[in-house]
């Protein structure tokens, strides 16, 4: 009893293993041989299509060249929906496939991870697996995940995010499932595949990385083995994001972001997340906006919200972001982290408030202009009181919220959400 009191809130942590990964320019050429080595014969390739690039075509042709049979599902939507997952499950079963390859950003990987879990449970609806380790049968099909954006970390993490559109279609719910069984078999991160990623998309994905690094670093889980990865991911992002955004064909920038996203995912795998992600999930559940963009807008507000409980940690982040904190007090250094983040956000040209996002720029699988069936008529973000309440409630029920540095209640989180909607970033700067 007293031990419980002493050790709260999260006394025993769990370290999550990660898959084998091939990192570096040219690694995508190894998909075919690696797939053969893993015993793939008939593979379901899941992707958002990535139209406008020939990445999918090239990879599929290369897989065929190596003697694999390929079935293609290229209709994964941004913020993947439950029906994307279940359609893929059906296709997999119809064609008696034995393995998966996902190509794309988090959406493709997450939908694919969900499909594997569903297949391992006789096609049960994926929405039944929200939460932590809800699957019973770990024998799901093997999966190679090939990243084309530097942000998600999904190819490496034990988490996948799905939008539930069936429970209450008027009020979609975007949830995270953390499941060791969803871990991919092999991750492939090839910076060459990032070259085609558009400028705005690269910037937003970069802020996803920053959130993946910063949240475990200040998380209440306080998981020491993750700290190194978290801090170094922040450092790499601060060093390379600008270059990757404004000079997309620059290998050094792209490679830096590749490593940043990889180790950031390693960090949050065991170190936990927080309400940057919870807010992001809520907003994209209702408006289908891009996950990285949501993270970018929420990040400075959530940092400001969390700062009073972790000044030292934020001071470390400031240093990692390249601020010379010499001679500053801890609080001043922490403030400088916030300044550096906002400066980075402005440097890479990301909108500063949710109300500034126009519906025509909501996620449409920007790499490919793929389908967004469910959200074709998404409303404009008004940021009115009802909207803020709805998002705040979603945040409080999100699986990332318990890990947030500062404990969350409706009254404490609502002003943060409100600030994300309409607040001015300059308010946060001294």
């Amino acid at each position: 009893m007293q031990v419980d009191e002493l050790l709260k809130p999260f006394p025993i942590k769990e370290f999550h293993p990660f898959p084998r990964a091939l990192l570096g320019p040219g690694s995508h050429e190894l998909i075919g041989p690696e797939a053969k080595k893993l015993g793939f014969q008939r593979t379901l390739v899941m992707t958002s299509g990535l139209r406008g690039t020939d990445i999918v075509h090239k990879i599929v042709e290369s897989m065929k060249y190596h003697g694999l049979e390929v079935v293609l599902y290229d209709k994964v939507e941004s913020n993947p929906k439950d029906y994307n997952v279940m359609d893929a499950v059906q296709l997999y079963q119809e064609h008696s496939c034995d393995s998966f390859v996902s190509i794309g950003g988090g959406s493709s990987h997450d939908a694919c991870k969900g499909a594997r879990i569903s297949i391992a449970h006789d096609g049960r609806n994926i929405n039944e697996f929200e939460g932590f380790n809800q699957s019973e049968n770990p024998n799901n099909p093997p999966h190679i995940a090939v990243s084309t954006t530097a942000g998600t970390g999904s190819e490496t993490s034990w988490a996948y995010v799905i939008t539930d559109t069936t429970t209450d279609p008027d009020n979609p719910h975007k949830y995270v499932a953390f499941d060791d069984a969803s871990l991919t078999t092999l991750a492939i991160d090839d910076p060459v595949l990032y070259y085609d990623c558009p400028t705005d998309f690269t910037a937003q994905c970069g802020f996803d990385v920053l959130a993946h690094g910063a949240e475990p670093y200040v998380s209440r889980l306080n998981f020491e083995p993750s700290m190194g990865n978290a801090l170094h991911a922040i450092k790499l992002t601060a060093q390379h994001l600008r270059q990757a955004v404004w000079n997309g064909q620059d290998l050094k920038g792209r490679e830096g972001m590749m490593y940043a996203q990889y180790i950031a995912a390693q960090a949050f795998n065991s170190g936990g997340l927080g309400i940057i992600h919870s807010i992001s999930h809520a907003v994209s559940a209702f408006y289908d906006t891009h996950h990285g963009l949501n993270n970018a807008i929420a990040l400075p507000r959530v940092w400001a919200f969390n700062m009073p409980v972790a000044y030292q940690r934020f001071a470390d982040i400031a240093e990692a972001m390249g601020v010379d904190t010499h001679g500053m007090t801890t609080v001043q250094a922490a403030d400088a982290a916030l300044g550096a983040a906002i400066r980075l956000l402005r440097d890479v040209g990301i909108p500063e408030r949710f109300v500034d996002i126009r519906p025509d720029s909501y996620s449409k699988n920007r790499l490919g202009q793929g389908p967004t069936k469910f959200y074709e008529r998404a409303k404009e973000i008004k940021g009115d009181a009802a909207d803020i309440d709805r998002i705040t409630n979603h945040v409080l029920g999100d699986a990332c919220t318990p890990g947030n540095a500062k404990e969350c209640t409706f009254d404490t989180v609502r002003p943060v959400v409100e600030h994300c909607m309409t607040g001015d970033l300059d308010d946060l700067l001294s």
């Binding site: 419980d4 050790l7 709260k8 809130p9 999260f10 006394p11 025993i12 942590k13 769990e14 439950d82 029906y83 499950v89 569903s118 006789d122 096609g123 049960r124 609806n125 929405n127 039944e128 929200e130 939460g131 932590f132 380790n133 539930d164 069936t166 429970t167 209450d168 009020n171 719910h173 949830y175 953390f178 889980l221 936990g272 400001a304 919200f305 700062m307 009073p308 403030d335 409630n393 409080l396 029920g397 999100d398 699986a399 919220t401 318990p402 890990g403 404990e407 969350c408 209640t409 409706f410 009254d411 404490t412 989180v413 609502r414 002003p415 600030h419 607040g423 308010d427 946060l428 001294s430």
Partner: protein, 383 residues
């Protein structure tokens, strides 16, 4: 009837399909015509019989009854992952060999006593090899026993799909030629080929080579009348009318999308259970209390309980949600809005967070508004 059926060989146990059905019925196994025909063919063609189908439809039982009906000895090889051929064919009884060597130490000493050198001693001992690798030290396993045994046998190779492919290959040789070769002794060929019955629950595909050597039969759940007859033949003690209703309920249960549909043996178990409880009417209450006899997964149990009113009385109106739902709409089973609203509850993941254990003691909640003031203070200070 044209004379196209294979002619009975000497000592053939069955003269016709009807006789198969009748003889099996005497032993309490209700076979339909298709199954009986296959059994007849097996006894005439000397081919193994491969039975595939869901668990609990009477595949293993068929082999047992075949042995009973034909008066043959039943030999059973239960397959499992990692089984090697020594567990299926034969092995040398090493312990016995060692014991004999110890006991015969003096005798061995005599043999090599006047050997001039080590080489000569080894040569003399090796000349005696045949003593130790002889029938005396051979431990026959089911396959060899079925081939070599004096008494004709029924060989049941149960759940062959669980065995590794290597063992399947060993089986091939044995099944095709009915012979087993032991390098040290020679080849044994069956005087009377055993009747071989292989069963598979289809957890993996069997090789084409194995299928080619076998008569193949897919054994599915029986129709209503045959299942009722089976229950009746088991003398469960359940009155006829209740048994009829119960079989109808089980058949409707199988139509739901369950992870594991109830098998025939489970129907029989359920009938026995209800008989023991002295049930005189099949109502919702007694069925729901005993449903766990046939439904073995918690999710299946929920689904079956929801559908129970409809199972008892097909004409009764029940909410559609209890019906088998395609996977896309599994979420519609209950009021979606209520389920959705429950997902916005604060703290619902606290206990399971990142696999965190022992978090029963929640940190105290701060006073409402404190956080609000803190956040506002930050923004004010920076303004």
């Amino acid at each position: 009837m044209p004379d196209t059926t294979p002619q009975p060989s000497a000592g053939a146990p069955f003269a016709s399909v009807e006789e198969v059905i009748a003889k099996f019925a005497e032993c309490g196994y209700i076979a339909d015509r298709r199954l009986a025909t296959t059994v007849l063919l097996q006894s005439r063609l000397d081919k193994p019989l491969l039975l595939e189908g869901p668990a609990g439809v009477g595949k293993t039982e068929l082999a047992k009854k075949l042995a009973e009906v034909t008066g043959r000895r039943l030999l059973r090889l239960q397959c499992y992952e990692g089984q090697d051929e020594s567990k299926a064919l034969y092995e040398w009884d090493y312990g016995k060999q060692l014991l004999y060597t110890q006991l015969l130490r003096d005798k061995i000493g005599e043999i090599i006593a006047d050997a001039p050198d080590l080489d000569a001693a080894v040569a003399r001992i090796s000349a005696q090899d045949s003593v130790f690798f002889s029938d005396r030290f051979l431990a026959p396993r089911p396959l060899l026993e079925a081939i070599r045994g004096a008494q004709p046998a029924v060989l049941l190779v149960d759940e062959v799909d669980r065995a590794d492919e290597a063992l399947e290959a060993v089986l091939l040789e044995c099944l095709a030629e009915f012979q087993v070769s032991i390098p040290e002794i020679g080849t044994f060929t069956a005087a009377t080929p055993p009747y071989v019955v292989l069963t598979s629950n289809n957890t993996r595909d069997l090789s084409a080579a194995l299928k080619r050597r076998c008569l193949h039969l897919f054994l599915d759940y029986p129709d209503h009348e045959r299942e009722l007859e089976i229950v009746r033949s088991k003398r469960t003690g359940l009155p006829e009318e209740l048994a009829r209703q119960l079989v109808a309920v089980v058949r409707r249960l199988r139509e739901l999308t369950l992870r594991k549909a109830p098998s025939i043996s489970e129907t029989v178990d359920w009938a026995r259970t209800l008989a023991v409880l002295g049930t005189d009417e099949l109502d919702e209450r007694v069925l729901s209390e005993t449903l766990n006899v046939v439904v073995k997964y918690e999710r299946d149990l929920h689904r079956a309980l929801e559908a129970l009113p409809r199972l008892v009385d097909p004409d009764q109106q029940v909410p559609e949600s209890a019906e088998a739902a395609p996977p896309h709409h599994a979420g519609d089973e209950v009021d979606g809005r209520a389920v959705r609203a429950a997902k916005d509850l604060p703290g619902r993941f606290d206990d399971a967070y990142y696999g965190a254990r022992g978090t029963a003691a929640r940190p105290p909640q701060r006073a409402t508004g404190q956080g609000h003031r803190a956040f506002s203070a930050v923004t004010r200070r920076r303004a």
